[in-house]
Structures are given as structure tokens and as C-alpha cells.
């Protein structure tokens, strides 16, 4: 028995050694690495992983030249992963989650000859490092169009309206600009499509997690129970879409198709163009902008319709898309929404107030907004972001930096909770 074990051990070890030696010498120079918060079971991270692989294949990279490291937490393990890729000679390193940013900056400061890229981050334009980049896209436009498709569907469901008002629901991950900007754009698109005489209100509930299938499902059921006739979400699991499917409630998705027959439409950021630019830079091409915003023009913002749509939806949404591209329609057109202000401390010491950075007229329409563009600990407003072009006053999102900074809580949208 002892001999057999010893023999087995020797065999295993020697084979392992041979395998180690055999693997040497055939590797091409590494180029690009992707760090993701979760794995491919998260729709958000899957969108990055798929786009990264597509871009690398498009650029003719060999499998050994690019790699993905998933399930990297938003702590020092992100720095360790980034530094490890730099050690191994990767030239472009990309991280996909908001909380990765500080650790990517730490790595960027240490490895000045390696380029670091970070999605949804806010600090590249103030850190001013030559090798650290932020990237995002004007996805609020895609959201608006997906909302428009949902509004057209609601026009066919008028029996579900109470007093000519449709109540819809939204599941968000965290109460911060990226999510707020997303659901507000979606809601404004939905409202814009409604027939004359009909209105909409929305309830938003936050989960406090980017990926929690059970919780997202539960929240969707709560919102449906509260009377929501249509649901959308910005959280990354299939929880909410599945709940909608089970309750036959129409659903609008983000990051990609859910493949369910309750799907009305989805919008997503197509990261392939950005990854291709990143790879070009790694292979000697032009440098990518420090703070890059993808647009509909360069197909960074994409949308598509699902099976559950009203007749003629495609043409109508395409017409709106044209107006957005031409600038004759703005997503955050100040005449389409009203805002209520409340000073900090009104309801006791822990009241941060409501929309304190907004300047509004007597009807509640937005005149100016002092947004927190340059991130600081106290989240103070520093930049005016409301513009007036051709007589249209609008909140210019993703204009001063790529990551969203629209964090206004507009009227008709009720937050059931807030989780930061």
C-alpha cells in the first residue's frame, strides 16, 4: 500500500514538472487584462467579459495575450490583481467596478509604464495621471429610448391605469448618481411616450448590492404587489426579470437581453469600441482620452426591442433616437420634470436635505444645478451643469466628465428606501 502511494505521488509530481516545463517558451507577449467584480453570472460583468473577448479577437490577439480575472472585491485584492498583471508584463489593465477605482489609482502610480483603465469612475480628470483613464457612455440616452418603448407599450394597457395614471417600479442597487441618472432617464422616456391625458409615477427600491438574485426578485415582487404594471432594474442578476416573467409583468432590462418573453426592450453599453481603442494604445496607437464618454454615434450606446412591444414601436423609437442624435430632443429637458427642494437639517440632524444643489423657479422647474463633478469626501457641488441651447434648457449629463452626475430626485418618483 505504502509503495503504491509513493509511486503515485512520484508519478503525479514528475508529470506536473514535465507539464510545467512544456508550457514554457510558447507564450506571446501579454497585452491586456480585465478585472471584474463578479463573474459571468452577473449581467453587468458578462457584458464586459464578452466585449473584452470580442475586441481582443477583433484585434487578432492570441489567447495567451489577454486574460480575465473575475470575482475581484473592491478592496486591496484589486490592487494585488492589477499589480500582478503589471508584473507579468500586461500593457493595458481594465477594471469594471466603481469601488475598484482607488486601488487602480494606487497601481497606476506605482507602474507608470502600464496603462490603467476604469469604468464608471470619477477621479481620472482630477488625479491627472498620464496612465489612468476613466470611461463611461451616455447610456442615459439608451435608457431613455428603452423607456420610450415601455411607454408605447403602456398605451396599449390603459385598463391597468388608475385615474389615468400608470404606476411603474424600479429596482436599483445603490442610491448614487449612476443609478439615479439611469432610472430618471428611463422614466422621462417612458413619460414622453404616453398618450395625451395619461401620466406615470414610479416607485424605486434599492437592494444595496450589485448582485443578489433572491433579494432583487423579492423587491420586484414587492413593487408588483404595490401596483406596478411595468418594471425595470439596475441591478445585475436575473432576479427581477424572472419575477416579472412569473407575474407576467412587462420588464425593461439593462446590460443585455434577458431572453424572456416579458422583455420590452433593453439598453446596454457596448464596450467593444472602447476596448479596441485601449488595445490600439497598448500596441503603439494613439492614447485614449483621460475621461472618455461613449456615445450613440460610435455605437457605444445600444438598445434593442424584446418580444413584448406594441405595434410600430421600432419606427417610433428610431425617430426619437434621430432627434436625440440631432440634439433637438434632450433627455433631461428641464421643462419635462419638476423638482422639490428641502434644506439639510429640516427633519433633524441626520437629514441631508433634498436636491440642495438645485436652483428652481416657482413652478419647480430646474434653472441651474451645482453638480459634484470633482469627487471629494464631502460631496459638495462644484460645477454648474444646466445648459441652454437653442432655447432649450437641459441638464447636460456626461458632459463635464464621463461618469454620471445627475443625482436629482425629481417629483413623481418615490424612493422607498435609500442605500449608499
Amino acid at each position: 500500500m505504502k509503495k503504491v502511494i509513493a509511486l503515485l505521488l512520484t508519478l503525479a509530481m514528475s508529470v506536473a514538472c514535465v507539464a510545467t516545463l512544456a508550457a514554457c517558451g510558447e507564450k506571446a507577449e501579454p497585452v491586456a487584462a480585465l478585472i471584474t467584480l463578479h463573474g459571468s453570472s452577473s449581467t453587468y460583468d458578462k457584458n464586459f467579459i464578452d466585449a473584452f473577448n470580442t475586441a481582443c479577437q477583433n484585434k487578432g490577439l492570441k489567447k495567451s495575450q489577454y486574460t480575465v480575472k473575475s470575482d475581484i472585491d473592491e478592496d486591496d485584492s484589486c490592487y494585488t490583481a492589477a499589480a500582478d498583471f503589471a508584473d507579468k508584463g500586461y500593457k493595458a489593465i481594465f477594471a469594471d467596478s466603481f469601488g475598484h477605482e482607488d486601488y487602480m489609482i494606487k497601481a497606476a502610480k506605482e507602474f507608470t509604464n502600464v496603462q490603467f483603465y476604469h469604468a464608471t469612475g470619477t477621479k481620472a480628470h482630477t488625479e491627472k495621471l498620464a496612465n489612468f483613464h476613466n470611461a463611461f457612455a451616455s447610456i442615459y440616452e439608451g435608457r431613455y429610448l428603452a423607456g420610450y418603448a415601455a411607454g408605447l407599450l403602456l398605451n396599449t394597457m390603459k385598463n391597468k391605469a388608475k385615474n389615468n395614471n400608470f404606476q411603474v417600479g424600479y429596482i436599483g442597487a445603490y442610491t448614487y448618481a449612476e443609478v439615479i441618472s439611469g432610472y430618471t432617464a428611463w422614466f422621462l422616456g417612458l413619460e414622453a411616450a404616453l398618450d395625451e391625458g395619461y401620466t406615470a409615477t414610479m416607485q424605486v427600491q434599492f437592494t444595496g448590492k450589485w448582485y443578489d438574485e433572491t433579494l432583487e426578485k423579492e423587491v420586484a415582487n414587492t413593487l408588483i404587489g404595490n401596483g406596478a404594471v411595468l418594471i425595470s432594474q439596475h441591478a445585475d442578476s436575473m432576479g427581477a426579470p424572472t419575477a416579472c416573467q412569473n407575474a407576467t409583468v412587462p420588464n425593461v432590462a439593462y446590460n443585455g437581453s434577458t431572453g424572456l418573453n416579458t422583455l420590452v426592450a433593453y439598453s446596454k453599453i457596448n464596450w467593444v469600441p472602447y476596448f479596441e481603442m485601449m488595445l490600439d494604445q497598448a500596441m503603439g496607437g494613439a492614447a485614449v482620452a483621460t475621461d472618455y464618454t461613449g456615445t450613440m454615434e460610435n455605437s457605444s450606446v445600444q438598445w434593442a426591442l424584446g418580444p413584448n412591444v406594441a405595434e410600430g414601436t421600432l419606427e417610433k423609437v428610431q425617430a426619437v433616437e434621430k432627434e436625440l442624435k440631432a440634439g433637438t430632443r434632450q433627455v433631461f429637458d428641464c421643462s419635462t420634470f419638476t423638482v422639490t427642494k428641502r434644506a439639510a437639517g429640516t427633519n433633524g440632524e441626520n437629514d441631508f436635505g433634498l436636491n440642495v444643489n438645485a436652483t428652481i423657479d416657482e413652478t419647480g422647474h430646474l434653472l441651474q444645478y451645482h453638480a459634484d463633478v470633482d469627487t471629494d469626501v464631502a460631496f459638495t457641488g462644484d460645477t454648474d451643469v444646466v445648459k441652454t441651447v437653442n432655447g432649450m434648457r437641459y441638464f447636460a449629463e456626461s458632459d463635464k466628465r464621463s461618469a454620471p452626475y445627475f443625482d436629482i430626485q425629481i417629483d413623481r418618483i418615490t424612493l422607498l428606501n435609500a442605500i449608499f
Binding site: 505504502k2 502511494i5 509513493a6 503515485l8 505521488l9 503525479a12 509530481m13 508529470v15 506536473a16 514535465v18 507539464a19 510545467t20 508550457a23 471584474t36 463573474g39 459571468s40 453570472s41 460583468d45 458578462k46 467579459i49 489567447k63 486574460t67 480575465v68 480575472k69 473575475s70 470575482d71 472585491d73 473592491e74 478592496d75 486591496d76 494585488t80 499589480a83 500582478d84 508584473d87 507579468k88 466603481f98 469601488g99 482607488d102 486601488y103 494606487k106 442597487a173 445603490y174 442610491t175 448614487y176 448618481a177 449612476e178 443609478v179 444595496g208 448590492k209 450589485w210 441631508f352 459634484d372 469626501v377 460631496f379 443625482d407 442605500i419 449608499f420
Partner: protein
């Protein structure tokens, strides 16, 4: 156990064995480990679209742990941290106090540490002051979190398993609450405070390694050579014996858990002050639960715990690299693989401590157990006595 001669023998009995040499034990562990890895390598190759060669898994694993200097340092650091948590559990476990709350004890210490660093940054106090306060308060937080269930156990006989487990959730929940207060506009993450924290000696990895090395030596002597170590072992064996020998069981229980919590607090201090400089509800990285396995596999021996801790970290870091190299974008396959290796190791632990005696292989002259089974016909009282002894032996 009827003592009836015509009774049917079951196919096999499980018999405790005590005669195995250390060398043989180690050999069996190694064989199980390698066997598990071999099975996993085949499994990984089958699941991967990128490669069909099962042996590439071994290459990846070794590369992931020893491939670069940084990886090796991280391996030593993570192994040291897990060893530290295991050492925290050892005294409690030897006393048969099932402290499942190491996760909570670590996280609460991280939270306190971050609060102090944040306070330091806001008030501009020097780092030395903050570090001294951190050492006291982090360790103190760990102690409080462990002492609460110990006091309840000592005075009210509450179930420590559930109590410590529940305190984990409370600690993690507290972190979430504090993040909401400290970062009212983020996405659930706090910015690291790099200006404050423990000094970096040689590199960020060295300090935890040094601290845990010293801790291992101290704990070895504490558990094996000191009066305290002896006392807690006696309490673990039999509370009544301890009482009869004049030991204060309540005091020993609380004292031991204070030690356990203090070590967890120390690990939390190293995590928040030296590594993450930030805190989140999973700052403990699940070490509190993994350490249950490492200390149990080591039979609560601090020296063997070194081996088991580093083994587990080797597998988990190695599998991280395998995931990357094999294109597993999902943690499911890696988790199954880890499960297989763990299963092999735990299964062989069983076969080292027990053996199966099959019906056909019974030889009365060799097998005392079967002799015992046959003996009682003449003296039924002995049977009762002996079976109780067997039972006790089986539990030890």
C-alpha cells in the same frame, strides 16, 4: 450489541485506530491531496474551452502561487493571516467552545480601526497616536465581540455556536450601516485611507507574516506548556473534572474567549491598518469559517495548523490562477474544484482516525473490538462498561 451469539454481523464496523505512525499519516494526507488535485485537473480540463490538457492545471496552480515574487509574498501573507485566525480558534476549540464568530470578531475590529483612521484624517492627529489607539481599540473590539457569548455561556449556559454565529451578522450589518453614514453618495464602498495605518516594513506583506510568526510561537507554548493551556484542555474534556480539581470554569471560559477575540482583533487590525485601509462587510474574507477547517484538520495542534493553513491558501490562490488561465468566468467551477479537494482531505482524515473492519476480515486474535463484542455473554456488566468506553473513545 445484544450479546447474542447468532446475531448477524453488519458488513463493516467503524473502529477507531490509534496506532498509525506520523509518517504514514502524512503520506496518506499527501496522497489524498494529490489524488484530489488529479481528479480536479481532469474535471477542469473537461470544463475548459481553452485547454484539454489536465496537467496544465498543476502548472497554473504553481504559477499562481510561486510565479512571481509578489505572488509568493501574497501567499505567505494570506497563509499567515489564515493561520492567525486558526490560532485564535484553537484555545476555544480545545475547550470545546465552538467559536464560529471569528468573522464577526475580525470585521468589528476592522470597523473600529477604520473609524480611528478616519478620525485621524479628519482631525489631523499624527499617525503614531492613531496606530497606538488602533492597536488598543481593535484588539479590544475583538475581545468584546468574543467575550459577550462567553459570558452568556458561562453564566446562563446559552448555546455558544448560535450566539457567535449570530454576532457575525450583527457585525457585518454594523459595517453596512456605518458605510451608509460615512459615504452617503457612494456605491457601498469606502475610500481607503492610505495616509494612516500600520507602517510598511520591507513591503505591505511582511508585517502580518512577522506578527503571526511570533503569535504561533507564543500560542504553541501557551497551549502546550502553560498552566492556562492545561486548564482549558481539562475544561474541554470534562467540566466536572475541572470543577473537582478546583478550577473556576466560568473564569477559564471567559479568559480563553478573551484571548480568542484578542487574536481575531489583531488580525482585523492587520487587515484594516496594513492591507485594505478600508472596511466592508466581507473584510474577513471568510477566514473565520475556513479556519474552522484548518484547525480541525490539524487536530487543534498549532504546529500542524501551519501546514493546513498554507495548504488551503495554496489551493485557493492556485485555483484563482487556474480560473484565469482556463477561462472560467464564473466561480462555480472553481468552487466545485475546491470542494473536491477539501472533500478528499477531510475524507482521508476520517480514514486516518478510524478504520473499517469488514465482516469477512474479522480475526478475533487481532481485532480487540470484535473480541469485546463476543465477551459480554459471560459478564454482561463488563459489556456496558466497555461500550461506554468505546463511545468515549470515539468522541475524543
Amino acid at each position: 450489541m445484544t450479546g447474542n451469539k447468532t446475531v448477524h454481523e453488519p458488513l463493516f464496523h467503524v473502529v477507531k485506530r490509534e496506532d498509525m505512525s506520523v509518517k504514514k499519516k502524512l503520506l496518506i494526507y499527501a496522497a489524498a491531496f494529490v489524488g484530489g488535485l488529479l481528479l480536479v485537473s481532469i474535471f477542469c480540463a473537461l470544463c475548459s474551452e481553452d485547454t484539454d490538457n489536465p496537467f496544465e492545471m498543476f502548472t497554473s496552480m504553481f504559477d499562481g502561487v510561486f510565479g512571481t515574487q509578489r505572488r509568493f509574498w501574497v501567499f505567505l501573507r494570506d497563509g499567515a493571516l489564515l493561520l492567525g485566525v486558526s490560532l485564535a480558534l484553537l484555545p476555544a476549540f480545545r475547550m470545546k467552545f465552538w467559536n464560529l464568530g471569528a468573522n464577526g470578531q475580525i470585521v468589528i475590529s476592522c470597523l473600529v480601526g477604520y473609524a480611528l483612521m478616519k478620525w485621524g484624517k479628519e482631525s489631523g492627529v499624527s499617525n503614531a497616536v492613531v496606530v497606538i489607539l488602533m492597536i488598543i481599540c481593535c484588539v479590544g473590539a475583538g475581545i468584546i465581540w468574543a467575550a459577550i457569548p462567553a459570558v452568556f455561556k458561562a453564566f446562563f449556559k446559552t448555546n455558544e455556536t448560535l450566539f457567535t454565529l449570530m454576532l457575525n451578522y450583527i457585525a457585518e450589518g454594523l459595517v453596512t450601516v456605518m458605510i451608509t453614514i460615512w459615504a452617503p453618495k457612494g456605491s457601498g464602498s469606502l475610500s481607503p485611507i492610505t495616509e494612516y495605518g500600520l507602517p510598511s516594513i520591507i513591503n505591505d506583506q511582511f508585517l502580518p507574516i512577522l506578527v503571526v510568526t511570533l503569535l504561533t510561537v507564543v500560542m504553541f507554548f501557551y497551549l502546550n506548556k502553560s498552566k492556562h493551556g492545561y486548564e482549558l484542555a481539562v475544561v474541554g474534556e470534562s467540566e466536572n473534572t475541572a470543577k473537582y480539581a478546583g478550577m473556576n470554569v466560568k473564569f477559564i471560559t471567559i479568559r480563553t474567549l478573551i484571548l480568542s477575540g484578542a487574536i481575531c482583533g489583531l488580525i482585523g487590525l492587520l487587515l484594516v491598518g496594513g492591507i485594505n485601509h478600508s472596511v466592508n462587510p466581507t473584510s474577513h474574507a471568510g477566514m473565520g469559517f475556513t479556519a474552522i477547517m484548518t484547525s480541525w484538520l490539524a487536530n487543534f495542534n498549532p504546529l500542524v495548523t501551519i501546514v493546513t493553513s498554507f495548504l488551503i491558501i495554496f489551493i485557493s490562490l492556485g485555483m484563482g490562477q487556474v480560473r484565469q488561465d482556463f477561462g472560467f468566468y464564473n466561480d462555480a467551477i472553481a468552487n466545485v474544484a475546491l470542494g473536491i479537494v477539501y472533500f478528499f482531505i477531510i475524507a482521508c482524515h476520517f480514514f486516518i482516525n478510524y478504520r473499517l473492519v469488514f465482516r469477512s476480515s474479522k480475526r478475533p486474535d487481532e481485532d480487540s473490538f470484535i473480541m469485546n463484542r463476543k465477551a459480554p455473554e459471560k459478564k454482561p456488566e463488563t459489556e456496558i462498561k466497555e461500550t461506554t468506553e468505546e463511545k468515549q473513545g470515539g468522541n475524543a
